[in-house]
Symmetry: C2
Subunit: 215 residues, 2 copies
């Protein structure tokens, strides 16, 4: 599956021509800006509470110009989630690469939790609340697409959870634990603001304390 942006580019340059012109690079940058401001607005006001005019204005464009970059409002929502998940996957892979081969289950879970919380307070933090709130608004096809990214992201937690279950530190079943843990962590986007009372490291330790009694 390709993003709507890739679809547009593919249409313009014909299938299979790899090099990008300077125009295509500019277009790509401008589109990235649109996705970013759309993510902010969707988080603040919701998808239906944000008009395409709002997004265009925030990007300094005329109302109709959005549809030069995106075929529909829904495709912007899709792009917000798709781009966000791609960045999250990259960040999570880096966090796991930073571990030694013999890292314990506790160390692995700590790295995953910390990275996930980091994503939600970082500068690109809007897409997870948007996914939480607007998931049902995706088309069937879009939901399968982003769902695949999400499944791959979450699957990387299973080895750590299974290891912790085997050593007895995680009492719940790994599958149910994963569902409950993502609910708990994703909801922190609503109440946690870095620096106010609790640091990100402290929140990470509190979460580990709750889930596996580690502190």
């Amino acid at each position: 599956m390709q993003t709507s942006h890739e679809a547009v580019i593919a249409k313009k340059r014909g299938r299979g021509r790899p090099p990008k012109s300077a125009d295509e690079r500019n277009e790509s940058m401008r589109r990235g800006e649109l996705v970013k401001v759309a993510a902010q607005l969707f988080r603040q006001r919701g998808f239906h509470g944000t008009s395409t005019r709002d997004i265009a204005a925030a990007a300094g464009m005329q109302p109709g110009s959005l549809f030069y970059f995106f075929e529909s409002k829904e495709s912007i929502l899709h792009a917000v989630m798709r781009d966000g998940m791609a960045q999250a996957a990259t960040s999570q892979a880096a966090a796991l690469d930073g571990l030694t081969a013999r890292a314990s289950g506790v160390q692995r879970l700590r790295a995953l939790v910390r990275n996930h919380l980091q994503i939600m307070v970082g500068p690109e933090s809007d897409f997870i609340p948007v996914m939480l709130y607007e998931w049902r608004l995706l088309s069937e096809e879009q939901r399968v697409d982003v769902g695949t990214q999400k499944d791959e992201y979450e699957a990387q937690w299973m080895p750590a959870l299974q290891a912790l279950h085997h050593t007895g530190k995680l009492k719940a079943s790994p599958e149910i634990a994963r569902l409950l843990i993502f609910g708990a962590l994703n909801w922190t986007a609503q109440w946690f603001t870095e620096g106010r009372g609790l640091t990100l490291d402290e929140l990470t330790e509190q979460a580990l304390a709750l889930f596996i009694g580690e502190r």
Copy 2:
């Protein structure tokens, strides 16, 4: 603070007249039906994705007739959350009353978790997802109103969490644990369906296993 419905009734009969006429009872029932179908639609399609015409049609009314019962679309959203929280509070009080005076922290938390999950799979289960998704759409005044109900509901968890923290079964701080736990439990509304794989009692035990290592 009074609901918009009470405000309407108060306006009609003048302040301080207690007895309700048969007309007022019918009006009250009809309004309750509207809140119920609105809750279902808001959960399925979101607040902005549901038109007042949708709600009226689902209740067998003409499009404009909604505004005989509610002064605005927002006031229907407020009523969904207000009525839902009132029922949740009643249900939770009953669950706690069912405990003996010497019930342990584990027993108290189990009763609270089970009751909360029960609310989310029961026939009046729509309001919690609606609260999760549409909280920001309330007016300042409405948010304070429902926020007070929510705070009172959640405050009843603190004695159990504090007791468990003192005995060492809950390693996280009671305040942070409460925030993480509600995130985890409320999110189950998205993936848990009774009977498919996991019963409500099994889910309750899995949650307790995750939070306090009890199983």
